[in-house]
Symmetry: C2
Subunit: 327 residues, 2 copies
């Protein structure tokens, strides 16, 4: 595996800028030569159109990113010329960012050899692995896009009776059809930490303010189920589901079901929750329920938010060691 | 949050098929009426083109998925007509799947009001939230695409001396520039469990066969670093990095560095590993290194692979309770 982690990419950004500045100068020289070569060939002084330099950014994996932020009449020709030039220079991975406003250019990009890669911030990112243009067996080393959605379940034991847990019935979806009592659940928002998502979801669905004390367990699921009986390809990504234990911060507990999503809300004995018929046929849920019944703080990975240090911002870290201050 | 988990979507698929069969009949009646209305208006017998019924699949969230698997001359008109009809029927989320072969239609789709949503299996998935066509404040309830890549680090203690761990130096990337000794790392492949990815990566980078005994800790990182100083939008997804502890299954240990990726490989004292200069400025890495130094099996979440039961396939489950058989 030569695809390296996003983390390293982020750290390496400072380096990239230096290399960009250098390669940018080299590129201008190369563009001049191409222009000269073209004018010699055609005996006119008109240069073959290429992608404008100010749309480009170079990376230290020998790649180029094109940001298509305005329309261009001869985009298809310019793209093909630039690809030829980059192949000649020995470049490898080319990224092309097309925002929705310029979606009409997507066809030309695919015709030039680009593949759909991912969508982010309403922008379609295409990629071309230049070595595979001449050698179809050359495998792209460009990192794949994101593969997982991340969900949370909120496990809240009653502060005065830990044999009871908070459960909801949903208004729509399969759990509603089964009248299943379940933990409040939801997906993390973009850029949101797991423990923060659990606190937000609990607040949204039940009105309760709580602090996430730890992750009790988590489940990874891949959607093999859709493959052979559906025309649909969307939502075929994997799912990580974290069971978070939260401690209420309210002095007085008032349950307020979210009117859009939650049909009913109550405290239920953990035993009754686990005995629900729906779980009985599922080894995964039986095991998850056993872990819930035996839950203790010492079994959990607690969340810590720490400065990255050699880059901006913080990371969330989850582990089950006591904090150093308590040792 | 009304966006529900992938898991529920997969479970609900059987229901969807039943509803599809029913709505499909209703739709044919509706299409007939539209055709009749069109013929009355235009006083010709030619029907307004709509998206062919056999390209459609209905879901029980009141949505429609269009699979564009062949080219269509009047696609732009047909799409607009179908959208009008679905709006009239009170439908909400419309998905449109465009494979690379039909990339030329992407422009028409965006012009008709579709947004880029995600890319999967080399297919661009666009979406349109019909309620927002008339009311721009209506917020889409369609689930976002995947948000995270999942990486693993392989922590292998020497079988005869647990004060030593296996480390590598990489050939390329920032860690190489810093001459950093690090755990073998990599990204999970599509559909691959975390513990399986750790075993595969270790094998690929070092030649060693091992079994993943547990997850010691994990880190969640969001790429705030790229936002304000780069034109690039790609790779702005989040990262989950799991530190996996592996136990060697080899009788005789022979270290074989992967020639493409690994420059050097050795056993190193955990203390020396943690003392490397690069970590000193990073609170995140200092804490991760402390947890590595104190690693014990009881601190880990062990992997279990279990049948889902009420659906096909297995899930991976991670928790730190002893298996039931050992209680």
């Amino acid at each position: 595996m030569n695809r390296k982690l996003l983390f390293w990419m982020m750290l390496s950004f400072a380096n990239t800028r230096l290399i960009s500045a250098w390669t940018s100068r080299q590129r201008k020289n190369a563009a001049g030569l191409l222009c000269l070569a073209a004018s010699l060939r055609t005996t006119t002084s008109h240069c073959a159109p290429t992608i404008p330099e100010e749309w480009l950014e170079y990376d230290h994996y020998n790649g180029v990113t094109i940001s298509l932020n305005q329309s261009m009449n001869d985009f298809a020709t310019a793209l093909q010329n630039s690809l030829q030039q980059w192949k000649h220079e020995g470049r490898k991975g080319i990224w092309l960012q097309i925002p929705e406003a310029h979606a009409a250019h997507v066809g030309s990009a695919v015709a030039a050899g680009f593949r759909f890669h991912l969508v982010q911030q309403n922008t379609l990112i295409l990629s071309a692995w230049l070595p595979s243009f001449d050698d179809p067996t050359a495998i792209s080393r460009l990192p794949a896009g994101p593969t997982h959605q991340v969900g949370v379940g909120c496990l809240v034991f009653h502060p005065d009776d830990s044999s009871k847990m908070l459960v909801v019935q949903e208004k729509t979806g399969p759990a509603a059809a089964w009248s299943l009592w379940k933990m409040p659940t939801g997906l993390t928002d973009a850029g949101e930490d797991i423990h923060a998502a659990a606190e937000r979801e609990l607040k949204e669905e039940t009105g309760l303010t709580a602090a996430c004390r730890g992750i009790l367990q988590f489940r990874q699921a891949h959607p093999t189920q859709l493959k052979d009986n559906s025309k649909r390809v969307y939502r075929t990504h994997s799912d990580l589901f974290f069971v978070c234990v939260l401690q209420l911060l309210e002095k007085e507990i008032v349950l307020e079901a979210c009117p859009d999503e939650i049909a009913a809300i109550q405290w239920m004995s953990v035993e009754d929750y686990c005995r629900q018929e729906r779980w009985q046929s599922s080894p995964v849920y039986q095991e998850m329920n056993r872990v819930i019944q035996e839950a203790q703080l010492s079994h959990m990975m607690q969340p810590y938010t720490l400065e990255l240090g050699f880059g901006r911002g913080t990371n969330a870290l989850y582990h089950s060691r006591p904090p150093q201050s308590q040792l």
